[in-house]
Amino acid sequence: MLYRESGDFSSSYAEDSQTFPIKFDRYRYYFVLFIAIAVIPFMINDYWVNSLFLPFLIYAIAAIGLNILVGYCGQVSLGTGGFMAVGAYACYKLMTSFPDVSMLVHVLLSGLVTAAVGVLFGLPSLRIKGFYLAVATLAAQFFLVWLFNRVPWFYNYSASGQISAPERTFLGINITGANTQAWATYLFCLMFVIFSAYVARNLTRGSVGRKWMAIRDMDIAAEIIGVNPLRAKLTAFAVSSFFIGISGALFFAIYLGAVEVGEVFGIQKSFLVLFMIIIGGLGSIFGSFAGAAFLVLLPVVLKIVGVDWLGWPTDIVAHLQLVIVGGLIIVFLIAEPHGLAQLWRVAKEKLRLWPFPH
């Protein structure tokens, strides 16, 4: 009743193959877009943007990227932190070398640089599979972080070894540095989120995405039916790293402003993004958003409940958070291996029959 799929007739191929063929889904999508673009920017202040919206949007991009690699192409990667660092440092070098160019170009270019690095580290995936590959991507993680720590050229020989974002603009509005407006940074990130989700959604339901999924389900069989594993795996690495690079660049330039690479882009970050897509749902764009929202909200909620209401010391809450996140991962894998996205699918199934279930 509430979720209706009937009475929705398409009269052209274009209508039939659109992203959301069901009217209800489509209007819901437009509604969410409208709220995100036209309502939220007027209601937020610095606190909301910095503690919730920016991390959510940026992690969502990273989660979409990783989901393409892990969820759609089946190549488990633990190098997300390292690739985000590539995006961040590429963005930093571009920002400082070409101060007059728009941030849009810088962020996209850092995505491309990361894509190239991703392809380089994706090359072994043609020989190495499964766990061996997961461990092999750790090589990228450790090597890249070490590289940015040790080679002074990357951080412009600054004394502290940190990189910090200078003031840069997009369409004449400050979006990095100290003097930024909450709505401007929010909208700038949102733009990339919409772009990533759009591209990812359309790639994964096209021929490229079907090749990825064939490789994921069984690479030998895919090879026999004519999928070129070299191209499929490397495009997955490239697209995935492109998005992860964008998120790394935004994470550094917009969200944090200053970065110490070992701390921010360490292996914990790789696991965090991996957890997002497990909890959200492997192989689902909506799941990437749900997982990112969940893991961004969880520490905030825990902090409010534990520290502010119950008055516990912060270290206990931090430890509890580890326990809860770890426990949730296990519970999700046991109860719902397909994550929050699957819960949403089940809910739709129930809504379709409501109020007269069988």
């Binding site: 061996y132 450790f142 270290d315 430890h319 046991i334």
Partner: protein, 329 residues
């Protein structure tokens, strides 16, 4: 040049000792992987948890005292006694067996038949969970560990090498003891697997779950046994590393050191874990000494092992001693 050569020799010797410790952690991985096909990322955290528990019990700490204090407003922290090392090790082993039982019962029994990668991610979750529980139980401050292992420079080696080469080697007694214990442990495990009933059952399970089940081997029991063994190995590794550098969070990172060892040696091979450990231990120390520190700005130990393993795997995807991967449609 003999001076340099002596340095290199010393570095090699130290690398071998470090390699033995890596192999010790890698061993725990191999045990579980062989018997249940689970790639247990939590092995490092298990070592940390075991070391924390041991240190806590020896010190007579009240478990979860921070949490209890925070919830009830009390002020408990110590029972006021000190437990002797031997007894504490036994108690810790009991805790590790209970943990093995709980992990098997509550987690992996529900995940039977899932894809390996799902199991792997479950162990990552387990690692986070255990780390949090360990910190909640015993506090996150750095603890020292002293179970009576000898420490400090070995004078005999120092003097002998000084007389022979004109340069005394600095080799820690602890490393020597650790190597001996690790060697004993490996021999013990191999004997256990070869000559006892449970050991044979374990190998049968490793070979083929269903066939083992059909001849009457209890999978549940074997898996609990294997996790307990891995807990035991973790305890030994935790004691060694804990004595060496204090019981603290970084101890769980030795799992990350053990991963390239596994890749190099093959996930399914106990000799592979040992040889791989030695290669990585010596390789990373020598690389740091010869190339890393003089030319690359140091701290190459973080990634050298991974790069070595990565390059190696491109040529031999199953590792040194791993079973040949045969793929069929």
């Amino acid at each position: 040049m003999p001076e340099q050569l002596a340095f290199a020799l010393e570095v090699t010797a130290n690398g071998l000792m470090a390699g033995v410790l890596y192999a010790l952690v890698a061993l725990g991985f191999v045990l579980i992987y062989k018997a249940s096909g689970i790639f247990n990322y939590a092995q490092g955290v298990m070592a940390l948890f075991a070391a924390l528990t041991l240190a806590g019990i020896m010190d007579g700490q009240v478990p979860f005292s921070h949490l209890i204090n925070a919830v009830f407003g009390t002020d408990v922290h110590h029972f006021g006694w000190n437990v002797p090392a031997f007894l504490a090790i036994l108690l810790t082993m009991v805790v590790m067996i209970a943990l093995a039982y709980a992990v098997q019962r509550l987690v992996f029994r529900h995940l039977v038949g899932q894809e390996p990668i799902i199991l792997f991610m479950a162990t990552i979750g387990l690692a986070y969970f255990l780390e949090g529980v360990g910190d909640l139980m015993w506090g996150s401050d750095i603890k020292s560990m002293d179970v009576g292992l000898p420490q400090g420079i070995n004078m005999w080696i120092d003097e002998t090498t000084f007389e022979a080469l004109g340069y005394g080697f600095f080799i820690d007694n602890l490393d020597i003891v650790a190597s001996i214990i690790a060697a004993l442990l490996v021999i013990g495990l191999v004997m256990f697997a070869q000559y006892t009933k449970q050991g044979r059952a374990m190998r049968a399970v490793a070979d083929d779950h269903q066939a083992a089940l059909s001849v009457g081997v209890s999978l549940n029991f074997i898996w609990i046994l294997v996790w307990s063994l891995a807990g035991f190995v973790a305890l030994v590794a935790g004691i060694m590393w804990g004595t060496k550098s204090g019981v603290q969070f970084s101890l769980s990172l030795i799992a990350l050191k053990a991963l390239p060892v596994l890749m190099l040696g093959g996930f399914t091979s106990i000799p592979g874990a040992i040889v791989g450990g030695l290669i990585i231990g010596v390789g990373e120390k020598l690389f740091e000494f010869l190339i890393g520190a003089p030319f690359l700005g140091g701290a190459t130990e973080n990634w050298f092992a991974y790069m070595l393993a990565l390059i190696f795997l491109v040529f031999r995807p199953q590792g040194l001693f791993g079973e040949k991967i045969i793929e069929r449609v």
